[in-house]
């Protein structure tokens, strides 16, 4: 447990010292969403209707772009070797790294999302549902993405393969999250979708660290 928190603290400190890693996915997220009103034109009703999809697809892409930094620098400077050689279970350390990564790249998206939702004309109640789906959904994106990164970190140009691997796995999260926001817009109950997202988060938390750890060990050889 002590090692878990040591890893979280180390990664947060690292992120604070190279802030570009926090800012870039966030800027990407904001830019993509502001591009839609420009591209679609001044049609508030249309924008409002497609807003859940826009926000969630942008969040998905921003999360994916930030994934590569999860293990890349550790792999390049040998810190990953030391993690693998630690007597602590690697899956626990990996979970610590994923948590720190989400705090740095996922949480800022959740915080800035209400502003962008207002931009697209969502109502206050819908925004609160959107926040819940983002809070439950973005950690799942980090957890699932970690498996893909661990598999591709040893490859020289893993970026493209990573997106092909990971994006299809993001589909369930996208479906339930965007649907929940859409239902909230119509004033329908959304408990079922929220429960599904919560279940995905719990499952991913428990199941994702194992294959990630195994894939990292494989990348070492």
């Amino acid at each position: 447990m002590y090692a878990f928190f040591a890893i979280v603290r180390r990664d947060l400190r690292l992120a604070l010292r190279k802030r570009a890693e926090i800012i870039n996915p966030l800027l990407f997220f904001v830019l993509v969403i502001t591009l839609f009103p420009l591209g679609v034109g001044a049609k508030p009703m249309l924008l409002q209707a497609i807003a859940p999809g826009i926000i969630w697809v942008s969040a998905l892409l921003a999360a994916m772009l930030s994934l590569d930094s999860l293990f890349r620098s550790d792999f390049d400077d040998g810190a990953l070797e030391q993690l693998v050689l630690s007597p602590q279970p690697l899956s626990v350390l990996v979970l610590g790294k994923i948590l720190a990564h989400w705090l740095v790249t996922g949480l800022p998206l959740v915080i800035i999302a209400p502003l962008l939702a207002i931009l697209l004309g969502l109502s206050a109640k819908t925004i609160s549902i959107l926040l819940i789906t983002l809070l439950l959904g973005t950690p799942v994106l980090s957890l699932i993405g970690a498996i893909g990164v661990a598999l591709t970190v040893g490859l020289r140009r893993g970026g493209m393969i990573l997106s092909l691997l990971v994006l299809p796995l993001y589909v369930p999260v996208l479906i339930f999250a965007a649907n929940a926001v859409e239902m909230a817009q119509l004033g329908l109950p959304v408990m079922a979708q929220i429960n599904m997202l919560a279940a995905m988060l719990v499952l991913a938390c428990v199941l994702a660290p194992w294959p990630t750890a195994a894939a990292l060990k494989m990348s070492m050889s």
């Binding site: 040591a6 400190r13 040998g78 030391q82 007597p87």
Partner: protein
Amino acid sequence: MNSITPLLQGLDLACIRDDRSLFSELSFVLGAGEVLLLEGENGSGKTSLLRILCGFREPDAGQVSWCGGAISTSAYRANMAFVGHLDGVKKELTVLENLRVALALGQGNGGSLDAALARVNLAGYQDVLISALSAGQKRRLSLARLLVTAKCLWILDEPFTSLDKQGIQLTEQLMSEHCAQGGMIVLTSHHPIQLTHGAVQRISLSSCL
């Protein structure tokens, strides 16, 4: 250093890389207080053998055992430290922060971090970022990491690279002390080593074909 006598054993190890046999039928037994020096020309499989001993790679034949058990256990990893080509330190963190992470991952031996840094001539560098250190100073920091963690087996890949004369002497001295305390070392080196303690076994990988 340990309640059971540590013993690292390799039996009939072989390594094949890109259809080329690097070494085969390589066996050794390493007990407490002993040093295993791997020699051989470039590309003879020294680093590959070290990575097999670390558990990063599976040997293509044969097996490695630690105290009679497999090396994929956390009991083995709790007893071994590896210093490879890569330093394994984060260049955005300070010297002290890096050592603290190493301590959290392994098990400390109760010694103070400052004393270990003083030992490797890095006293006063506690709050310096790694990116401001020279290659030799980073090597010294990896030595400090070995000193603060209670590891019985040191696996060192070319430990003398980029060290100055004093650094090499210091490394040899630390290695001798480690052996005198019952530790064991596996290393590769092109540099002749002089140890005051520890029986040195040499394996030339070029002759293990």
